[in-house]
Symmetry: C2
Subunit: 353 residues, 2 copies
């Protein structure tokens, strides 16, 4: 399947949506992207697994990364794509092939005011170990080096800066078994876990402003389990708590905070990932915000995204994609076609002004 990069960005979006690329099965789309990019003499193109990296080398004083994942969640009877009015429907339209199409259109620019590294990477929607951007960052971190990075993840056409960190802990409450006919002989761990839920219910999440954007933390039970048998006083209850924390705290800070909040309980860290500061004060980032429409077009990203990989390398990074995040992974996923054009236009202005 050949990709015609001369068609308009909406038609190009539809074309790549129609090349099915569920996580782990991106080869056909990676092949098409690689072939199209190799035809452009101003780019140096590399292939690594099903990730395609294309770089300009104009000797500019700044380099920026523009990145997008080419995989989608499983198709849910929502392919091939179809247009209804101003909307393009289909699996992966907003998350994030509309963004990938914008990347491809930008990649055709023979001359830009900044050197650009384009990433088209695989396996973002599944376990982190298979994530193409993570792999390149681990094996060839020099390829990620830049003054600023834009991920084309769906952000509703505005800039989402940074991302919150996430940490999950198991809070274990112990008791003592007894027959439920003589419950006072034991100690009910589920009842005792009520005190953990009290802590969660009383918790006041912070809403700190970091680099000019307001974040909004959260502390929530995501699982609870306890119980031995229908006639036994349970001796253990585990509450799994997910804390989403603003990027003014490190992962270590967040763990320390949770151990304070749950003082006296057995707290085990299940997993965690640091957040990322928006970094919008960096000149390259500020220029991007200006080109997109100013500070009113920026808000904090509350979920965790791959921008944190750039942040970990000291590179400011934002999400900016035409998709609507709330439609991601839904059967009725669509993207507003005018937003794809607007996204391309603004990115082009930023790179060519």
């Amino acid at each position: 399947m050949r990709l015609d990069l001369n068609q308009d960005v909406a038609a190009l979006t539809a074309a790549i949506v129609d090349i099915e690329s569920v996580s782990g099965d991106e080869k056909a789309l990676a092949d098409a992207i690689e072939e199209a990019l190799r035809a452009l003499p101003h780019l140096t193109v590399e292939r690594d697994g099903d990730t395609v990296i294309a770089r300009t080398s104009q000797g500019r004083s700044e380099r920026v990364v523009i990145a997008g994942h080419i995989d989608t969640v499983p198709v849910n009877r929502n392919l091939p794509s179809r247009v209804e009015g101003d909307r393009l429907y289909g699996c992966g339209t907003g998350d994030m092939k509309a963004g990938v199409a914008v990347q491809l259109k930008l990649a055709t620019l023979a001359e830009t005011n900044r050197d650009v590294t384009y990433f088209f990477y695989e396996c973002e929607e599944i376990e982190e170990a298979r994530n193409g951007l993570k792999r390149i960052g681990d094996t060839r971190p020099e390829l990620l080096k830049a003054d600023f990075a834009v991920l084309m993840e769906p952000s509703g056409g505005i800039i989402e800066g940074g991302c919150q960190g996430t940490i999950r802990v198991d809070v274990k409450v112990l008791g003592e078994r007894a027959h439920s006919a003589r419950s006072w002989m034991g100690s009910n761990a589920i009842h005792s876990a009520g005190a953990v839920l009290d802590v969660l219910r009383a918790y006041e999440p912070r809403r700190p402003v970091v680099d000019g954007l307001e974040f909004h933390e959260g502390l929530n039970a995501v699982f609870i389990s306890g119980g031995v048998a229908g006639n036994v006083i349970p001796d253990e209850c585990v509450v799994t708590v997910n804390h989403r924390f603003a990027p003014d705290r490190s992962l270590e800070d967040a763990e320390k905070h949770l151990r304070e909040v749950f003082t006296g309980y057995d707290v085990t860290v299940v997993d965690g990932a640091a957040g990322a500061r928006p970094g919008l004060t960096h000149p390259a980032a500020a220029a991007f915000v200006e080109a997109i429409g100013g500070a009113s077009m920026a808000r904090a990203k509350l979920g965790w995204t791959d921008v944190a990989r750039f942040s970990a390398l000291g590179i400011p990074a934002v999400n900016f994609g035409p998709g609507e995040p709330s439609l991601s992974h839904t059967k009725d996923e669509y993207v507003e076609i005018p937003r794809i054009f607007a996204g391309e236009e603004r990115m082009r202005a930023w790179l060519t002004a």
Copy 2:
């Protein structure tokens, strides 16, 4: 295997302990019991599955039932039986072959002051549907008819009167899903379940005196579960609550009480069984208490036992067995040999005074 009913009750206990009879596999023991009883001309013996029923027919004004189950929980490297000092160790010694041995010794009495129906029944330790006493009660309830019933369940050598009822309900708490990065968009059902645990923690169980015996109720969470995924605010949490209630309340009363306690929640009854009043004021029961040693020898039974089946038929019933209930189902189960002799002696006195 032949059973010699002329040996003393301790030796007889050891003999029947050594005939393995895990629930569902009681045939050998039922055969031995049937054969031994058929040799006694004063008894009418019937076999129903692996349940053996033997009746005297002396035309007495009162009839009593003396019943015991012949099955055990699975053997746990604790057979054959062994004697250490005053203790007989082995699977099923206390629960309840010592009681069955007492029954068999009593059954040899050609003349008693009350007519007696002896039940030796199968499958008490497993699912209720297979319980031999339940089956006879369902198919031939006339065989259970009596003025009073004694179950030889382990009761530590004292009388345990009646039994508490039990009811389990699921208390379901609903919420609304959201991504845990934007938790305020949803409603956390696990957090809301904290209010259910508050109710349980604050609950003051009754300790009512019923027919002269003090019961002790309980209201406990026995299971809790909730959670969708590690990054999702959960929309459902279910707390399974077990209420043990004194026999001055019916099962319907208990359900009504729980619906009041958990007003505003979705309450579903999972299962339940009525309790049984001690009924010790009935003349036949009072005579039994007197023969055993008076009111100080009686306490309330807090767990549920098959006495409730008699209670449901309007027949007062008690537990009275030489076993120690706390040792039931343990690897180191044993019975105090002097208690077996004492149990036989007192029962014999009651039936022959």
